[in-house]
């Protein structure tokens, strides 16, 4: 009995000290981490829609994307016209893919940016490369994904060997365009 008490007490003590340490580091780093996330989000918004002035977040609770598997994170309309939408598609090869889309006030894509993904390096992970983002510039909602041929009109060519990734990103982009249209119409621009 006494041995069990000693063992229990010592383990409790070790766990208590570790917990206290963790709590301390957490308190110290939590505000910095939140700041970092804010800063990188703002930087990404300016990257996909530069020189657009101030961003105001728009409420989009009544918006439902026409595609399944996509959640809209947030929509910000820009002072000088256009909008930035963050969206996540859960149908990537390795899970969620989060993107940010800068959209002009004519409903065309200015730039996209893949914010996070867990796709295969060398294949789906190529979706973070500028060559891939470039494919979406100037397109409007309803983009379709094609393979092995030249794109014409509102189409993009999938990454060779990473069709699922390409489709997931496109789904998110299409939903982002819909959300932007919704927000810009609601706000009266």
């Amino acid at each position: 009995m006494k041995e069990t008490m000693t063992l229990t007490f010592k383990l409790l003590l070790i766990c208590a000290v570790i917990t206290a340490l963790l709590a301390w580091v957490n308190v110290m780093t939590e505000p910095i981490i939140a700041q970092n996330e804010q800063a990188s989000f703002q930087a990404a918004m300016t990257e996909v829609l530069p020189d657009a002035g101030e961003f105001t977040e728009k409420e989009i609770t009544d918006f439902v994307p026409s595609e399944t598997g996509v959640t809209i994170g947030s929509v910000h309309t820009a002072e000088k016209g256009g909008a930035v939408v963050s969206a996540t598609c859960s149908e990537g090869y390795g899970g969620d893919i989060s993107i940010m889309v800068g959209i002009t006030d004519e409903g065309k894509i200015n730039q996209i940016k893949v914010m996070s993904m867990s796709e295969t390096p060398g294949l789906g992970a190529k979706s973070t490369e500028p060559e891939f983002a470039q494919k979406y510039v100037g397109l409007e909602k309803g983009i379709s994904v094609i393979k092995n041929s030249q794109p014409s009109g509102n189409e993009i060519v999938a990454i060779s060997g990473a069709t699922i990734t390409s489709k997931a990103v496109t789904k998110a982009v299409n939903s982002a365009l819909e959300a932007a249209e919704f927000a810009m119409q609601k706000g009266g621009k």
Binding site: K10, L11, I14, L22, N26, T29, P121
Partner: protein, 208 residues
């Protein structure tokens, strides 16, 4: 005295290299070696945790009762890894972004628990720290070697720098899981044959 410090340090890098000799930490080895940068990042993070956990466990070696030692080691190691993760998230978010899921995986990296049990619990903090450093660097070198092979053959680049021209068709399989097993297996075979040859030569010269 100095001799045994040096011996312990080199032990982790060569004689008892955790990846090629002790065969510990295989899961992260296979997963993280898709690129040289990731391999080095993971290796150095693991080294940091390994040194810290070895020192702490060595300091507590007389306090932790034998019957609850594994539970205690795991709590201490998990605590350290979580602290490293929070610090990285706050002060080096770019690195934390690319190491992503791998950081929590350090907790279950058998090298950490293995060295705590085999070395730190039976030695003083100073030399335990050296063992941690040696093992960690040995792990990092092993990871970098495997990642180099996989990245060069599988993506045609080294540390993100493209090596060959546009026309190079990389063997994508090297970047995928099968490539990890292939690379590790072949490297193990090569290292084993070198070690065996070395041993034979040593025995030969001792007998002669």
């Amino acid at each position: 005295m100095k001799n045994s410090y040096m011996k312990t340090f080199l032990n982790g890098i060569l004689t008892e290299n955790p990846t090629f000799m002790l065969m510990l930490g295989m899961c992260p080895t296979l997963a993280v070696t898709t690129g040289v940068i990731n391999a080095i990042g993971m290796g150095l993070s693991t080294t940091a945790v390994l040194i810290c956990s070895n020192v702490v466990i060595s300091l507590l070696r007389n306090f932790i009762p034998n019957k609850i030692r594994i539970a205690s080691y795991v709590v201490i190691i998990a605590g350290f890894v979580t602290i490293v993760q929070m610090l990285l998230n706050a002060y080096a978010p770019a690195l934390s972004g690319s190491l992503g899921i791998y950081i929590p995986l350090i907790v279950v990296n058998c090298i950490i628990l293995g060295r705590a049990e085999a070395f730190a619990s039976k030695n003083t903090p100073g030399i335990s720290a050296l063992d941690g450093l040696g093992m960690g660097l040995g792990f990092t070198l092993a990871l970098t070697l495997i990642a180099s092979v996989r990245e060069i053959l599988g993506a045609g680049s080294f540390a993100g720098i493209s090596l060959f021209g546009e026309g190079f068709q990389p063997a994508s399989v090297m970047i995928l899981p099968p490539g990890a097993f292939l690379t590790l297996g072949i490297l193990l075979a090569v290292i084993n044959s070198i070690t065996k040859a070395g041993k034979k030569a040593k025995e030969g010269s001792e007998n002669a």
